[in-house]
């Protein structure tokens, strides 16, 4: 009996003509809708975005390298996306290629600092122990790179997951250190020794976004430079305008 009722109901609903349905809807009461509309992104097969992402993160090192003294909470990264091209084979997936500008600082201390040391006829950057008696404060390695990420995106509604690899082209790097002098004034010294960083590095990254905000992680399988054997991973916050 219940089956018959359900069958009859189903047939009645689905057999309803569009005219009958319209007549019913025209009679229905609709209350004033004050809730703002959700912005739905238009689906396009190809998409181009400019300055679609800004990220800020902190560097961490693998535990066995803590002796190197990389200070996670002072080592930071800031990047923003210049241009992003995405191919969207479906409404929920994308393959993206981008170009980011990236500024990364590696901070070390308190027992080591970035300092140029003799290397034959020239000098090279190294992590050297702080001289005793030196009221050393901090030392940072500043790196500016153009980063080309290639990623696969999965997005459902306002949640998106992105993962991929990035090619880092290090265009400029230098180190500095700071200490307090006899008058307790803070002195910053920029060391002009070539940092010896590899011009190219690869990292892997992933991010999870909810709406315009998300979290990201990055991992560099290679060390920063042959002289500075630190493998870092970065975790941070990303804001996006997609």
């Amino acid at each position: 009996m219940l089956t018959m009722a359900a069958l009859f109901a189903a047939v009645s609903v689905f057999a309803q003509s569009s005219k009958d349905r319209l007549s019913e809807l025209e009679q229905a009461t609709v209350e004033e809708d004050t809730k703002p509309a959700k912005e739905e992104k238009e689906y396009r097969l190809f998409d181009v975005n400019v300055v679609s992402e800004v990220g800020f993160g902190w560097q961490f090192v693998k535990e066995d390298q803590f002796a190197q003294g990389l200070k996670g909470n002072k080592s930071s990264e800031f990047y923003f996306n210049l241009l992003e091209l995405s191919f969207n084979p479906t409404k929920w997936t994308s393959v993206t290629l981008g170009a980011n500008l990236d500024w990364t600082d590696y901070a070390v201390g308190p027992s080591n600092y970035f300092h140029g040391v003799p290397d034959g006829d020239s000098r090279k950057m190294d992590l050297t122990p702080v001289a005793s008696g030196m009221n050393y404060t901090s030392s940072k390695l500043h790196v500016f790179s153009i980063v080309v990420p290639a990623a696969l995106d999965l997005h459902v509604g306002s949640i998106s997951l992105r993962a991929g690899a990035e090619a880092n082209f290090r265009l400029n790097s230098y180190a500095n250190y700071a200490y307090r002098d006899g008058n307790n004034d803070l002195v910053t010294v920029k060391d002009s020794t070539p940092t010896g960083l590899d011009k190219f590095a690869l990292d892997y990254f992933a991010s999870l976004n909810l709406g315009f905000i998300g979290l990201y992680v990055k991992y560099f399988p290679q060390s920063i430079s042959p002289a500075i054997p630190m493998h870092c991973f970065t975790a941070g916050i990303v804001l996006n305008t997609r």
């Binding site: 219940l2 359900a6 569009s18 005219k19 349905r21 229905a28 609709v30 809708d33 703002p36």
Partner: protein, 555 residues
Amino acid sequence: MKRIAVALLLSIVVILPGQAQNFLKGKVLKIDMSDTVAEKGSESTPFTLDLGLPIGGFDGSKVSLLSLERALEKAAKDDDIAMVYLNYDKLSAGTAALEELRECLARFSAAGKPVIAYGAGLSNGSYYIASVADRVFMHPKGSGTLNGLGTTQFFLKDLLDTLGVEVQLIRHGKFKSAGEMYIRNSMSPENRRQYEELEESVWSCMVEQMAASRGIKTEDLRGWIAGLELGTANTWMEKGLIDGLKYKDELEQYICHLFGTTDPDKVGRVDIREYASKVKAGSGDKVAVLYADGEIAREGNQIAGEKFAREVEKLRKDESVKAVVFRVNSPGGEVVAADIIRREIELLGKEKPVIASYGAYAASGGYLISAGCRKIIVDNATLTGSIGVFGMIPNLGGAVKKLLKVNVETVGTDPHAGMGNLFQGLNEQEQAWYQKEIEGIYSDFVNVVVNGRGMTYEQVDEIAQGRVWSGKDALVNGLADERGILLDAIKAAASEAGLSKYKVVTYPQQKSFMKAMREDSRKGKDLPLVNTLTEPGFKAMALMPFVTFDPEIAL
């Protein structure tokens, strides 16, 4: 009995609450009839890369009928599409295209999804398509009328006589009216009868469909049309031909109401051109849609005989193509070119199923090239038949003498050396020769139809004589098999080939702008005009017979 009653009661309990909250969910699919609907859609533009990908998105100038039909078919099953909104102003489509779109909208509506039509001006074509909608609204100050179909023809005999130009028309088929404009000052009785019956056939179909959609009697509607009783929006409303008068903002609110909201931003919309661009072609073996769109000639940009035949040959040799829909939209053209194509279609038909689907015209040469197809599917409004041949020789001798004071004389080795010369007409013997040629071509044409349609010579001859038939009448007299739209022809072709899954690919395939430029620069041949101005070319043109139907029935 008791159990049935309880079951019914229970089902009502289940249905009623569900129905009350059954607002539309999804998007509005917008169709703007001012966008030109073409057979093939947009040609390659300067912005089309060799990859075939357009830069900057969809070219909105023209959209193909096939893509619209496939879009509506998909939309009927797509949960993301809730309804169709049709703007019927500034209509830009022919009768047959409208008939096919109307059919697609009817199928969409039959899937339980509403179609709303709106505009400010109604005419034959726009009301024909709008009337299929579940609700037809009009701007309160809108107007328009239905006045039936008509053809306007011009006759140039008096003008040509004044100029001193004589035209000799050699034809077979008392209804073969192409060329009459040069030799008469009015319609021949046969031509008049032909057009009256043709227009009545097409129009009566249209009126019946419009009346049926609105639930009114056909006789009543014909009476209003004949009495010019339709004009302002109120008159349409009084007759029950539309459902309401609304301003644009009121219509917006009405549509929002259907979606259970008062905020227009909460009602998603998608244009059918954009939606159509995302409809996938399918997967698996191919069903080719081969377009023969335009006039048939030896060379040129429309249906060029040899060039088109090579495309057909490619299809025959392409093993991934399992079936072909031959979409014909041609009033015909030059005999030899038409026969070259017919032969290739015949060879193709021996290896794969070929289903002919007719658009606005498949007349004369357009019918010749497709008569041998396995099945012919037409619209009611298709103009077909016109099985007849004519040739036309202008004699400009009198004109150049009268207007330019130029006298022309011809000297030749043989009595008929000057035959085909545009400055002297055909003498009696030459006319008889030409008539015999025309009769021969006519006989060949009829035999093509006999073989293709499985009819006798006498049966075909009776309905030939150059007479044009509507698709509806062609179904009765045996020139066509079924009524259907292009999508139906594709399904029929797939079925003939035993395909349950297939990919639809159109031919000839559009070249990108860069490829077309490269090919044209490599050809380096003379323009057709240069060819025809040379002596041998001129003569060949002058004596060339045609299988063409002309002119057009206006909406």
